[in-house]
Every structure is written in C-alpha cells, then in structure tokens.
Symmetry: D2
Subunit: 292 residues, 4 copies
C-alpha cells in the first residue's frame, strides 16, 4: 500500500443514531476506501468519538468535493472534526512540525531525536529551545536548529513572547516539553495555537509539583511512575495521554529513582508523542481518548 494517499479523520460529537453509517456512506460514496476505523462512546458524557483512516487514491471526485461532503455531515450532526492527509495533493508530505523544549537533561531529547532518526516519529523536528546552552551540541549532532532563551523571574513575560515568536517563525504545530524545568504561564498556553505535551516524572495525580522522586522516596511507595499529558493552564492537571510505572524498593535511594525514572520518562513521552503525531488522541474535558 502506498501510504502517501492516506488520510485520517478524527470526530467528536454528541452521540446520535446513524453517525457511523452516515460517515461510512459519504466516504465510500466518494471512492474513499476505509482501512481502519475505531470508535468510542462515553456514555456518562454522552459523547461519541471516531478515528477513520482511509485511502484517497481512487477517489471518484477530488479532495475538495470530499471535504465539503464531510463538512456537510459534520454540520448535520454538529460534529467537531479534523481531517489530515498524509501528503498534499502534489504528493509532498504533510508532516507536523515539532519544537522540543529542554533545560539541561538530555535523555528525553536524545530519545526523541534517535526515535525520529529511526523512523518511529512521523514529523519534522524543526526546533529545539532551551533556557541553557548546554544541549546545543546534541542539536548540532542531529542538525536541528537550537535557540537559547534564558529565563529568570524578571524576564518571564518577554522570554515567553520571544518563544511564541520562535514557534510562529518555525510554524510549529506541537511543542514537547522534554524535561523542560520551567513552568509555562497560562498566557503562553492560551496564546500558542498548537498542542503542548509535557512529561511529568510521577504517576499523576500522585506527587504533583516539584521534586516528585523526592516525594516518592519520602512516602515509601513501591512503584514510581511517569505521566505524559497535554499542558494546560493548571500545572500537572492537563489531560493524561500515557502513563507507566516501574517497581522500586527500600533499596532505592533518590538517585536510583531518578535513574529508573529516566527510562520511564523517555518511553512514556515517546509513546504519547507518537500517538499524537498519528492523530490517535482526542481531548475532551480533562481526559483523552487514545485510539491504539
């Protein structure tokens, strides 16, 4: 199969009869071949969610006509829907543009860059932003533009404005906070039009806030965790995309938890980013639907 003619449609709306058949009919009527379809109904919330992957190689119309037909169904059922083509009509790839924000820890950064190099992440890693110059050497190894924006109590507003300018300049769709040790302001989160994924080094909602491995050690837990979530105005409170844990014991001092946690952070963040890039995640309220 030629992946260049694939498209993904993400839908959410109030649950109503005939939704599934309605969409299937529109797609099939225009010659789109449905390859994969996954759906979910949250009965408490009365919400319906669907992800459809289809092939437009043999459309009997053009993309514009298909889009208008989908829009018509969307309006009829009051759907929110998001359509993305793997490639443009001219065959050029439509990759999401990603900026990675880091401080001094390099493990998540290396991990994302190496996965990208291995073909695991279908995106352009377009920019690395840091409040320290330390990781420029890594950026250079992988040929990614690197910008330093130092941060202090005094320059927070200007610094964030500059970062927003950078995101616009590089046409960024997704910001990944890869153990970025700075808190982004509500204002930043609201102003940035794309998505922001953060990795928190605990099993949320345990150990919100600073130094979660110290908190975990203090409490004497027998597992430590990591959580990837969309950043929202409330710190560590955004919709969770992925979590995992690893066993620890009385033998583990804080530095052991830090070491074990690095592996967790890398894997959990990478899974979340990959799901997001593949248009597998739908947000609603403070939750996510992850079609995998």
């Amino acid at each position: 199969m030629d992946p260049s003619t694939l498209a993904t449609l993400l839908i959410s709306c109030a649950d109503r009869r005939g939704l599934v058949a309605g969409l299937a009919q529109v797609l099939s009527g225009h010659g789109a071949n449905i390859l994969d379809s996954d759906q979910h109904t949250d009965r408490d919330a009365g919400q319906f969610f669907q992800r459809i992957v289809f092939d437009v190689a043999e459309l009997n119309t053009d993309r514009g006509t298909l889009e208008r037909a989908i829009e018509e169904v969307a309006t009829r059922f009051t759907m929110a829907c998001r359509l993305s083509y793997r490639c443009g009509s001219d065959g050029s790839p439509n990759k999401k543009r990603v900026a990675i924000f880091v401080s001094k820890y390099n493990h998540c950064l290396y991990d994302l860059l190496l996965r990208h190099q291995a073909g695991e992440l279908d995106c352009d890693i377009s920019l690395i932003v840091s409040n320290h110059p330390d990781l420029e050497v890594v950026a250079r190894q992988f040929g990614v533009p690197f910008r330093v924006q130092s941060k202090s109590r005094d320059n927070k507003v200007e610094a964030e404005q500059h970062e927003l300018d950078l995101l616009r300049e590089f046409a960024i769709d997704l910001v990944v906070l890869a153990r970025y040790m700075q808190i982004l302001s509500d204002d930043f989160v609201r102003k940035f039009a794309g998505d922001i994924i953060n990795i928190h080094h605990s099993f949320l909602p345990s150990f919100i806030g600073g130094r979660p491995y110290h908190q975990a050690h203090e409490r004497g837990v027998k597992l430590i965790g990591a959580t990837a979530h969309y950043a929202t105005a409330d710190l560590d409170e955004g919709p969770i995309i992925e979590q995992d844990v690893v066993r620890c014991s009385h033998r583990d001092e804080v530095e052991d938890l830090v070491r074990k946690g690095r592996d967790l952070e890398k894997i959990v963040l990478a899974r979340a980013v990959r799901c997001h890039l593949d248009d597998r995640v739908l947000r609603y309220g403070n939750k996510t639907v992850v079609f995998d």
Copy 2:
C-alpha cells in the same frame, strides 16, 4: 441502555473495498444502531476482520429480515460471519453454555466460578467434568452439575466418547480446560462442535509439553508465563488468545514458580474466556484477532 437488545456481528473475509460501508449501510438501513465497531486488516494474509456491536431495539423490520440482508452482503463479499443476539426475540438471555474440565487443582475452577458469580463472565456454567472426584465439593458449593469420567490408558476412547455425549447432553458451546491434566485426542477435538480453550502453564512456545515449571527452573529464566489458547490436534500449538508473565529469580524454587504461576494461570485463562464469551476473538490460521 438496555443490554437485552444488543447483537454482535463477527466477520472475516478477503480484504476488499466497500466492505465497511456496505455493512454499515445494511445495518443502519434496517434501523440497527451501531454502538461499537472494531476492525483489522492483516496485510500479509490479505484478510479483513470486523466486530460490530449494534442495538436492535428500534429495528424498522424484524430480525429475520435483517439477517437475510446481512447474509446477502456476506455472500456478495464471500464473508464468514457470525451473528449473536444477547437475548432471543422473546427477551430470554442467549448465554453460551460452558463446561469446565478439571483434574485435582482447584485454583482455576474456583476462579472461574467466582468470576461468574461476580458477573464477570456472561455465560452459563452448565457442567464440570473431572477424571477425579476430588472437586465435586466445589461444584456443589456453586450448584453446578459435576460428572466424573476416570481415564486410563485402556479406556481412553470410551472415556472421550462419554465426555462427548455429556457435552451433547448439556448442549455445551465452550469447553474450558482449567488445568485438566489429560491430553484430549485429535478425534475428540474434531468431533466436538464447539470451542475448546486450554491454559498452558508456560509462555508458549517456550516449554511445550510436560512440567513447564520444572523446565523453566532448569533453564534459569527470569520470567515465567502462562498461555491461554484454543486446543487443536497439536498439543500446545493452537491459536494463542492471551499470555502474561511474572518475574522470578534465582530465589524461586520450583514450588515458588508453581505458586506464582497459579495467579498467572487464573488471570490469563479468565481473560481469554471472557474475550471468547464476548465474541471478541476471531481465529485464522494458527492465530487470533482479539478485539478489546
């Protein structure tokens, strides 16, 4: 939602365009409301699989008409398809009838009976068959008919014939071998019209055959496993439904592996049985598609 009007359709066929839309249209056209749909294409095998759950409460025809329409699509696309209603037209529940085969170990038996009591397994546990009388007391506690069919090298053919008669008498759909320490003959497997699920106490294909915990201890593995699979003529070679593992170490002697393994066996077998009962498993070749 009233679960009594739910139906599940399982489909497999060679992959072709228009399948998904074709079925969705038929269902929706008869007033069936699609609640859940999951599908899979095995590209190597060129096979398509789908599971559709729909509600027939507001059919604008009757079940017979709907069934004929589905059959018509099935014929058109050369589909194998299996339709099951949660309840009959008269509202009486359509539960699968299950026989559990045991020897002397009681842990899987208790586990299945307790899960059934807790409402986790949507079936009738209609019969318990054993080659020993030991577990009759458990059967009696849960009010399930218990039959002893002793087995020896000499009476194997007659014994199996008697078991097949029992399965027919009790109208059994599914046999669960819950640590049944006897090997069923090819003949038995072929003659029984329903399905047979076995739990093997290793991570297949490791440690096929007898005494897998001894084999695992001998080899010095660091994880032990359990595998639930459909029984086929080839011992321990049937399609795998579910597997899991648990960590072990040099400290674990064989009896520790046996103890740890009991938890695995129970959980893995119960998950497989539950998936089967909910019509989530499709077999093809020596593999399964498990929609969960």
Copy 3:
C-alpha cells in the same frame, strides 16, 4: 531440610560498625546455622535493618541461652529485635493468628482462604469479623468462626470495643482488612496490640479516601492501582507494604475499573500478608523495608 527448627530474627537499629559480624558470631557460636540473611542500611535515616533465618536443629546450647545471648548483643547495639521460631521447643507450630475483617465484598476473603488452603499463607485464619451477615456462608465453607458486629454512627465506640474483645478472645496477632468498608478509629488502632493490614483500591498517594475508582475514572488515568499498607491513625497514610497497577483506557467505565481492580486488590493484599507472615517486613517511620 526440616522447616520445624527454623527461626527468624528481625533487627533494626542505628547503623554501627560490627553489627553484622557480632550477630553472626553469636548465632554461629551457639550452633545456629545461618541459612539466609538480608540487610539494608537507610543512609539518610542512619538506620540498619537485617533479617536472618537460621536453623536451631543443632544448637550446642538451648533456646533460652541463645535468646539471652542475642538479647545481650541487642542491648549492646541498642537494637530493636524480634525473634520467632517456626515451631515451639516441643515441635508444635507457632503460627500467627489472623482475623479477617470484611463487609460484603467476597473476592479478597475467598482469595485469602483459598491461598491459605493451598499452603501459601503460613498462619491460622482464626476469625472472620463482618458488619454484615452476608459472608457467613463463605466462612462456613472453610470452617472459620464468623462474628457479626454491626456498625452505625451511634454504636461505633461499643462496636469497636466488642471487636477488640473478640481479637483478645481469639488471641489475634494480625488483622487483615479485606475490603472492610468501615473506618477504624485511632483508638482502635492504638489499643490493638497486633498489626493491621489494609488494602486500599488505589495507587496511594493517589485517590486517598472514598470511591477511588470513581476518582480515577474522573481524572482519566491510564493505569489503576492497589496498595496494601499498615493501618495507622491517619486514614490511607500508613506504611506501604506492596503496590501494583494494571493498564486501563478510555474504554473502561467505572464498573470495568472495579472489575480489573478486584484482581489487583487480591494479589496485592495477598503478597503483603504473605510477606508479613514470613517476617519479611520492618516498619520505620512511615515506611517499610520488605526483604524478599
């Protein structure tokens, strides 16, 4: 090896040189054969912990003399130490006496009783206490005395006094709260001389308090957990003995979390109880050392 002559020594004290050799010498000097020894030093707390299993079959003195020698070392190093023999000098087993407190959920109760029956738990299950009569039938199946002590806002003090009397009457060493839906007062916890293990159906410190599965569903976590801990005056705040998690997704409604959680609760509680019974757990501050 004859397990009836085994003894276990648990030690905790401020870390000092010569501890390990001092004890080894005393034991060996009296003809005790050290079979297993595990130790841990918490450097932050400056605390040393050790568990020694030894065989007294070939003591060249008697138990009393050995005990006085151990006491002498314990005094010299200001150790807290706890010595337990598998059997008395007359060969009669020294099993811990356990009371299980339940309400209406039967899964943890059945699980503990079946594990005990299978020889996994080295104790006497001497008493089951409930605030409801429902589970008496289970107690009877396993031949365990069952006492109902109903509880209401009005009778709490008297009810707990009666429960304490029962624990004294049955000479209980360990109370296991097996999904006992009542909160024990500080007073109860202080007055009961033995230990109390509780199972909380969340990954503590997440979702402290009531209805943790509802809280987990609300928050949209991707894993749910269970925690076995010693009960202390502060609800859900006692030293954690064991924890585990299982994966969940947007597909899981609260009742699915409850179902998946049952397996977790059983396994986590059983592991904690087993470790406690085998004298593998040492408490200090709000933490535990679990030698496994």
Copy 4:
C-alpha cells in the same frame, strides 16, 4: 560515605555450616565494615552463593593481609571467590574495561554510551568493534576508539583472531554484543578470558536463532521479549541474566515488533551490563544468581 574504599567479595561453594559467620568474622576481625550482604543457597544443587560489600577505610591491617586471610577461609571451605576493590590502594579507580561489538543497528550502542555518560555504568567504554564502518560517527561523538573488522565466510578465523588481539591490546574485561549480527565461534568464546554478554531479541528459550520477531509474528504471540545472557559456545543457550517482555497484538506487524523490541533490547541489555559491572552476577551451570 566515600565509595573509593569499597570492596565487593563474590563467593560460591558447596553449602556448609559456618560459612557466613566464618567470613563475617574474618572481615570484621581485620577492621573491614560490612555494608551489604546478600546470599543464596540452591538446595537442589547444594550450592551456596554470597555477595558482600565492605568498606576498607579503617582496616587495622593492610589489603594484602586481608586478602590472605580471605584466601585462607576460601581454601578451608573450598570456595571460589572473587574480590574487587572500587579503587586501588593509591585511590585510582579500578573500572572494568568494556568493548562493545556492533553491526549497523545503533540503538543499543547509543543507549549504552548515553547511560555511561549519565553515570549509570561504572566502567570504561574502551573500544567499539564493528564489521561495518557505519557507526564510526557515533563512536566519534562519544570519543571512543572504533575498529572495523569486516567478516565473511572466508575470513572468519583471521577476523576473530584480529578481534582477540584487539581485546588484548585494549585490556578488555567485558565484551557486550549490542545487536552484533555475527555469530562468534566456540573458539573465540573459549579464548577470550573475560566475559561476553549478548542481547537476544526474544524471550528465550522461545525463538532461538535467526529472525525472532518474524518467528513471533508467525506464531501469533501476545507478548514479545528480549533476553540478555552470557555468550557460550552454544548459540542463545548461555546463562540468562535478565529478561523482559512487552505486550503486542494482532495489530502489530513485524516492523512494529521490531520497533517495540528496540526499547526492550536496550533496557534488558543495560540492566544486565549494569548488574555485571557491579559484581552482582554469579554463574553456575547454565544459570545465574543475580543479587539485586
């Protein structure tokens, strides 16, 4: 605590009374302070294993005298024992020298180099050997000598001889086969005096030999695994140090298994190498004792 005065003693011998006390006494008698001690008895094999970590900062003799005393005990009990100091008497670190063998896959190589950089692996990574020049760029980024030794059916003997020369030249203690796609001959394994750790990309003993992910896909397993083991003359048959698994499903094609497997391979190999470097692994027969 100053780690530079730590020493580790690994012992194995036939199980006999008085072993533990005998060693503790010798160490303590010379002023060595025992910090950690772990032991294991394999009852079937009648073998005893112990790992003791002690501090020689306040020896009341010198190292030579202590060593002779340990040797005396070792002779008395017919022990095999291995003593290693964290630093020499002059304070210079005694790190194991490691060579990493790779072909073209870079994930395990990067992983080991980054963990080493992060301080997780207490060793010198002294050499990288490959049968292809591709990964020289990675070696250069981390400043590690890189040698290419191409291999073909015709030059196998000479090539291995050259590799053995390299290992001698660089004074290598440990060879790590980090997805090295060549089979080392029995001769190589016998001639190299140090240890060799290999990562096999399956849950051994499943899927021995080539293309294990293809084999796993073919068999339809629901978990895939990775195994780190000491290389021996028999391919994939050496003593297992560490294993782990990850869940897969019918949705995973071979390339998905390869992707998921990369994470497993990295983590399992790194854990095994770390345990080996910390003198936590004892081999006996075809098994290991791993003190962790």
